[in-house]
């Protein structure tokens, strides 16, 4: 009776194959508590990773194909399911692309409202990312705090749109709801609270010597390599490249707002954590400005109102809610191709929409930030120890449903 035999040869969720004398293949995921719905196949020599192969697609939903069988308006709720926390950022470039084809521009008030929700979403998305990052590093306070504080911004989004997540807020020609009464006061409270909290995050997380030891100089992406791999978002800016669609090609009203885009030179996991905290501070600044500057007016393009039944305008005046006009159900979009990009929480998202003049798109191509960041695992992880993998994974803020589409 030896006790050795009773030890299971395989740990659940972790297959280990021996490849050579010292080389082992380790399957991390897709049920691994750290990796989410994604698998990284690594080959290790002792403790050092020599090769990594990201295996995506566990939550793939063929969104591009499904979009071809749906009307233009129905593609919006389909696409936002990639990253429900970041719904407005994710769908806005699609709406913009359709607007380019329709050749209409939304009224200024709608543009401000879109930016408002985009920034609320960005904060919620970063908080989610930081929470997951915290739990990867075994820092459970950093998991609990952002997840609790995220609720503040989810509720703020609910006040504005009526839905906690998946808001389907921007539609071609405008937005679906006007600003509710008393929103500015609630937002101001949330901003003050969050400013205080971000300072506390810094004290407990970024100034923590254990966290610093685990993150500094880990997963370094150099400036040139970042450009070569085409990674996006805070990860790119942490490597010293000043690329943010909000500045490079300002959409909506970003050119009228005063904000800064943080850029770090280090390119390590620590810089990627810092940059998210600073981006949240900047987003709070944007929200404050939007609520100060927002002009009066209609949140939907007059062309659409003109074709709406009289009752709809009445409903809008009473409830500030744009009842979805029947015209949208069979909205014919002129023939052509349009391309639009936007800065989502995790980075740049691009859409290419092709229409053949019917009510359904001929082709919708979407590339999400996480899909473009996935290549990092292949080129950055080798050379690190297994213990560094969660730190790198967390710092990239990789979100499988968004990458797999």
């Amino acid at each position: 009776m030896s006790t050795v035999e009773s030890i299971p040869k395989k740990l659940p969720g972790m297959d280990v194959n021996k490849l050579g004398k010292d080389l082992y293949e380790v399957f991390i995921g897709p049920q691994h508590p750290g990796s989410g719905h994604m698998r990284i196949i690594i080959r290790v020599d002792g403790d050092v990773i020599v090769e990594a192969d990201p295996d995506l697609g566990y939550v793939h939903r063929t969104m591009e194909k499904l979009a071809e069988g749906r009307e233009f308006i129905k593609v919006i709720p389909l696409m936002e399911r990639m990253a429900i926390l970041d719904a407005c950022n994710i769908t806005l470039p699609y709406v913009e692309a359709v607007e380019k084809l329709l050749d209409i521009e939304p009224p200024p008030r709608a543009k401000y409202l879109r930016v408002l929700l985009c920034e609320i979403n960005r904060i919620a998305s970063h908080l989610y990312g930081l929470g997951i990052f915290g739990v990867f590093l075994g820092h459970s306070t950093m998991y609990m705090w952002p997840f609790g504080d995220r609720e503040v911004f989810v509720e703020l989004a609910e006040k504005l749109t009526g839905a906690r997540l998946t808001h389907t807020y921007p539609v071609p020609g405008g937005v679906r709801r006007d600003l509710p009464q008393g929103f500015a006061e609630d937002a101001e409270k949330a901003i003050r609270y969050m400013e205080k909290r971000l300072e506390e995050y810094r004290k407990i997380f970024l100034d923590n010597p254990v966290i610093q030891k685990r993150l500094i100089d880990v997963g370094v992406i150099s400036k040139n390599l970042a450009a070569q791999l085409g990674i996006v978002g805070p990860n790119l800016r942490a490597s010293g490249i000043k690329y943010d669609v909000r500045i490079i090609e300002p959409y909506e009203v970003y050119d009228e707002l005063d904000f800064e885009v943080p850029v770090f030179e280090e390119g390590d996991a620590f810089a990627r954590a810092w940059i998210r905290i600073i981006e949240m501070q900047q987003s709070l600044r944007i929200i404050r400005q939007v609520l100060e500057k927002i002009p009066d007016g209609d949140p939907l393009h007059e062309k659409f109102w003109a074709k709406a039944p009289a009752l709809y305008k009445k409903v809008f005046e009473q409830t500030k809610r744009v009842k979805l006009i029947p015209l949208y159900a069979n909205l014919k979009v002129p023939e052509g191709r349009a391309f639009a990009r936007g800065e989502a929480g995790r980075g740049e998202i691009v859409y290419m929409v092709e229409s053949n003049g019917s009510t359904k798109p001929y082709r919708v191509r979407v590339v999400s930030p996480s899909f473009r960041n996935a290549i990092v695992f292949r080129y950055i992880v080798p050379g690190h120890r297994i213990a560094d993998l969660p730190a790198i994974y967390g710092s990239i803020d990789y979100f499988p449903p968004e990458a797999d589409r």
Binding site: E64, K65, K100, Q228, G230, Y243, R341, R365, R405
Partner: protein
């Protein structure tokens, strides 16, 4: 000088069709000139691709392959998106890879390969990335693959 003029000058030997689209600058070249055009664009400073994709035109019996290139390191070029496109026959879906010019094309080329069945010759690691092998055989983004959606009452 506008970006269209610059491109016309630099690419004059390949005789491309250059026009401005909605949100991009379109550069259409012949299949054989694709790699050379990409190389010139890379030298100009377009250092990464945002997407690689294809569109199926069964009526014309052709695929259109599209690379959206842009720049990170050059802030001036970052404002533009170059839609580099070419057409290949539908019955012989083969094209040379551009991964040796743009490393960022590696994953999206794999995606185009599995969804359209287009082979990128010379790609270092041409495997499916998102789909299961049995779905890859169906080439789901081709127009002759029709998705049957269930109605509410079925």
């Amino acid at each position: 000088m506008s970006i269209v003029e610059i491109l016309k000058e630099k690419l004059s030997s390949l005789n491309p069709e250059i026009s401005e689209g909605k949100g991009f600058v379109s550069v259409k070249v012949e299949k054989d000139g694709l790699k050379q055009t990409a190389r010139i664009l890379r030298e100009l400073g377009f250092d990464h691709v945002k997407t690689v994709t294809a569109i199926d035109y069964p009526k014309e019996n052709e695929f259109e392959i599209i690379y959206h290139a842009s720049s990170f390191l050059n802030e001036e070029l970052a404002k533009y998106i170059i839609e580099l496109r070419t057409r290949i026959p539908r019955d012989k879906p083969e094209i040379e890879t551009l991964t040796d010019i743009w490393s960022s094309a590696e994953f999206p080329e794999r995606e185009t390969f599995e969804f359209f069945g287009i082979t990128f010759k010379g790609h270092p690691d041409l495997r499916p990335i998102l789909l299961l092998p049995e779905v890859v055989d169906k080439k789901p983004l081709r127009k002759d693959f029709v998705v049957k959606e269930e109605g509410i009452f079925r």
